[in-house]
Subunit: 439 residues, 2 copies
């Protein structure tokens, strides 16, 4: 026996079904619901992406009894495809036969037949494998996949190389209190808070790199916008003339990502009524100027950072000015930024760093990094950090690094704001927060 890889099955899309109108077709899926209506019944199948209406008429389907079917059964049906404008996607299948492939052991604890799932967030999380079967709940994650795909494809075109860096890290990790600790063969280790130090090291040999990977934050926050394990879209690029080049790259990347959503997720965009932003120019404001603007409106209470309320207020302001859904805030105070961030040579109290806000939420932090070995050592000394703990990281600087910078995008935050979700947990298949380690 041998395997040739040329017998690949796929489930017909509504478009393909419409093209097949008048012909016998085979469709596989899960019975989403059954509605009896006089002499016939409508059996709606849920495939991996669509709902497909099937019509059961005993006279047309003599070999298989409707009473053998329940919601949740997986079936393979054959029948006549025909155009029917009143059906979902304008097509239906008149059943000639079907076979039950598997049966559920019990009805689902949630009612999937409602157009929107009527359940509180806690219930959706408690019954995760049921909730995600709802067309609207799962649609979020196709959009999320398109965002990640757009990110990778665009950066690959721009000469970036995909990297995979370790999430189990040793002494050379970024540090700080909010790390998960574990024992690695009796060595103390932590889970990476970001690929920051590794992606900078990779600039030494690839110049431009990106990573899509898990990020761990042991923060005790319990808010609608924090997860303790999330997916980071990271990039780092060498040879930059200034921080602006990084923001240019992000703007172009986001435009490509939104295009990918528009082009590959039309059904999901329509289902969720997602407003995919057209990204023209993104306004850019210095942190100090933003603070002034916010203070005039009763915000800006923290002189080193933006509060969640500030982020909302600032986005509202620019949106009302007709400047779109994104805002870059630049030149954050040095005091609150990590050791690898480059200070503004014109004003060392400010950094060459930025956040990107989207519809009221920070979705990116980025900036230029220190590339000079002596400058990095001096900065560590000023912060009472031990360079010996960062020997590998510093070996990149010692051997030579180009001027470089980068950024990290929180994929779930971007998804949440794009899809208009009120809680980030709805943008994570199996969210990890301070009380959820399951499912």
């Amino acid at each position: 026996m041998e395997i040739r890889g040329d017998e690949l099955r796929h489930t017909l899309s509504p478009e393909e079904l419409r093209e097949a109108a008048g012909q016998e077709v085979t469709v596989q899926g899960c019975v989403h619901n059954i509605r009896a209506l006089g002499g016939v019944a409508f059996v709606v199948l849920r495939t991996g992406r669509y709902l497909v209406q099937c019509v059961y008429d005993k006279a047309e389907c003599p070999g298989a009894g409707l009473d053998t079917l329940d919601a949740g059964c997986y079936v393979r049906v054959t029948g006549l495809a025909r155009v029917e404008e009143r059906a979902e996607n304008g097509v239906e299948v008149l059943l000639h036969d079907f076979a039950v492939l598997s049966r559920p052991a019990a009805p689902l604890p949630l009612n999937l037949a409602d157009p929107a799932l009527k359940a509180a967030l806690g219930t959706k999380l408690a019954y995760r494998t049921a909730a995600l079967r709802h067309p609207r709940e799962r649609a979020v994650f196709r959009i999320q996949a398109a965002l990640a795909r757009g990110f990778r494809e665009f950066l690959t075109e721009q000469g970036f190389v995909e990297i995979h860096t370790p999430k189990i890290t040793g002494a050379g990790a970024e540090g700080g209190a909010d790390v998960f600790e574990l024992s690695y063969f009796d060595m103390p280790a932590t889970l990476a808070q970001s690929p920051q130090l590794y992606k900078q090291m990779c600039v030494a040999f690839f110049d431009r790199v990106f990573e899509v990977g898990a990020v761990y934050r042991a923060e005790l926050h319990n808010t609608s916008r924090h997860l303790n394990e999330y997916t980071g879209l990271d990039l780092e690029m060498g040879g930059i003339a200034d921080m602006r080049e990084i923001m240019e790259m992000e703007t172009a990347a986001l435009r490509a990502m939104m295009r990918c959503v528009r082009e590959t997720c039309a059904p999901e965009v329509a289902l969720l009524n997602v407003e995919v932003p057209e990204i023209g120019a993104i306004p850019c404001v210095r942190f100090a100027d933003a603070l002034e603007l916010l203070r005039a409106r009763g915000g800006g209470k923290n002189r080193n950072d933006l509060t969640p309320d500030d982020e909302v207020m600032l986005c509202d302001y620019y949106r009302e000015c007709g400047e779109g859904d994104f805002v870059f805030v630049t030149h954050f105070p040095t005091a609150k930024r990590p050791f690898y961030v480059m200070e503004d040579p014109e004003n060392p109290k400010e950094t060459l760093s930025f956040d990107l806000l989207f519809r009221g939420l920070e979705v990116t932090t980025g900036g230029q990094r220190i590339h000079d070995y002596d400058a990095q050592i001096a900065k560590m000394a000023a912060r009472n950090m031990d360079p010996a703990r960062f020997a590998h990281y510093l070996s990149a600087h010692k051997g030579g690094l180009p001027p470089h910078g980068g950024l990290g995008i929180g994929l779930e935050r971007l998804t949440m704001k794009l899809c208009g979700l009120s809680n980030i947990r709805e943008a994570s298949l199996f969210p990890r927060d301070i009380t959820h380690l399951e499912p």
Copy 2:
């Protein structure tokens, strides 16, 4: 100020430089080496992907002195592109000017000028950010990126959805001894040994899913083919008629991945002299038959699994038969396969599972899974497992799962064998093994 995302810089490829012959060009890169030769000097730049030969002649480049340049300096050069068949890639740049963007603090501990890096594996790992600057060392990871890209692009075409599942897992993890344990806000947790249970749960709503993500194995192995953190290429697909469909999908996916390597990594394939396999049909042998074949040749000593020597012997056998570099081994004994694996209904001592061997090494494990709730509960009971610990996993079965199966490919193993590396650590940017938590 605003950011438009339309001013993106990129470094010219050798092809673009050849097209620009006769024109003034700008190139950024790192000084790879400098060779003085009579009145002129050759300054070879290393960009993120290529080596570019530049010619320094004081008369042509009066403003910048060669004595300001050292290996490891990052520079921006301008000069005349010209065809030169003796130069790398058939093109060189006659320098008119250059600016030093950054300087190393010290020479590298390794000599990058040699065509192959003359260093032992331990040295390459100890000086990782130096070793990976060598063109041959880094080339491995562009090929690795192409494999992952080919995997994702092919599966996306086939209707698979990319998922991100948690790596911090609770009670419902796969279990077994070889897990890393950590404390998650005072709850006992482990790092996921694979996305197995989660990807099966996702079949309930997406039918076809894939994930590219980190996998953790706390195994005490210290061999040339084990890592304790590696990148898994996982897929899971519903609605299958039998296990063969999974193997068909893998065969087609591998063909697409190899095509992606061929089409996007020609310079790296040439540099490393990689033999990219043409995948026609992949031979397929049942475990019991493989054992017989091996025993006739002095192998097959373990009656429940293949030993590393067996894997080599089996691949050699099929290669000598002209059957190529891959072999599927199917129907492994039930005793050694996990609880979610489906038994062969015709012989419950065997499973509907398979390994894929490539050039003497197992690179994939896959198979059909139990989709029926009662059958899965019964299997757990027979193995003295507590179903309550797997409540979320089983909720997918309870609510209905289609017949399904999938597989996991070890990205580093595939890379290692494709590139002809003798140790898997050379196929990981920053390998994690039982003695290395750094860099």
